[in-house]
């Protein structure tokens, strides 16, 4: 994807600076074409503005990937950052020896990194959904949550009483609701206050 803008300034330099600010890019990552050199004129007479066209060639995931890499580095961790994107989603998967540090208790550090990276994306006018994962933690957690949900439903039905699951964050609760939404024999309700909000699985 290439983003391209044209800007004006009193000098070529000024026009370029304005473009870089607007693109949120640094000078090394852009291509600059001078359209009008501009001139000061004489005592302001016949002064012409300088005009430049600045384009930045990048996948829209680039600001996010750069940010995540720097963050891992500043955390004193090491890891490889693998980025893939389609028309709707940017997927960033981090692999490396410090997975535990980057995931945190119940995935809270991972969720926090995703939150801030999401802000970075929106500041760059990128509206795609971001999914950040460390060593496929989310994927594995999603699989085990589905299993937990199904066995909770079985238990609720066999004892004829509701089963309340451990506290989970919104992302995890959503997965539990989704896993049981097609099960006509139970209903699922989130109850309690964050951070100890829990899903109750009850026989219908």
């Amino acid at each position: 994807m290439v983003r391209e803008i044209e800007t004006e300034g009193n000098s070529v330099e000024e026009a370029i600076k304005a473009a870089l600010v607007e693109l949120g890019a640094d000078r090394d990552s852009v291509e600059i074409e001078v359209l009008e050199e501009g001139s000061r004129g004489f005592l302001g007479i016949s002064a012409a503005k300088a005009r430049v066209r600045v384009s930045v060639a990048e996948g829209s995931s680039q600001p996010a990937a750069t940010f995540v890499k720097e963050l891992i580095d500043k955390l004193g961790a090491s890891g490889d950052v693998d980025v893939s994107e389609d028309s709707e989603t940017i997927n960033i998967n981090i692999t490396g020896p410090n997975a535990g540090l980057l995931i945190g208790k119940r995935g809270e550090t991972l969720a926090a990194i995703q939150t801030i990276t999401g802000v970075v994306l929106r500041k760059n006018n990128i509206k795609k959904k971001l999914v950040l994962d460390v060593e496929d933690y989310r994927k594995r957690r999603a699989e085990s949550l589905t299993e937990i949900a199904i066995s909770a439903a079985e238990k609720a039905l066999s004892i004829g009483r509701p089963v309340v699951l451990q506290p989970m964050n919104s992302f995890e609760r959503r997965l539990v609701h989704l896993a049981l939404q097609d099960n006509d024999e139970v209903i699922t309700i989130s109850e309690g206050e964050e951070p100890s909000r829990q899903v109750r699985v009850a026989p219908r």
Partner: protein, 76 residues
């Protein structure tokens, strides 16, 4: 930890040049005072404190690695 907090704050504010972190080092705790431009306080805190919470979580992860407790204060 200081650099980490500076980086996180700069990523979310409109005026990164105004971001400044001062560190008060205690025996078990480290207090990190985050100064941002007055107009950027909302950006650092976020809706219902979502951004501030995320920043604190990441800084704490870094502190645990160093065997410390970190407290992040946000000052406009």
């Amino acid at each position: 930890m200081k650099e980490l907090l500076e980086m996180l704050a700069k990523a979310v504010v409109d005026e990164p040049d105004e971001v400044n972190v001062t560190v008060v080092e205690g025996e078990v705790s480290v207090i990190l005072q985050l100064h941002v431009a007055p107009d950027d306080i909302g950006k650092v805190i976020g809706k219902q404190g979502r951004i501030a919470k995320a920043i604190r979580t990441i800084v704490k992860a870094s502190a645990v690695k160093e065997g410390k407790r970190a407290i992040v204060e946000i000052i406009g």
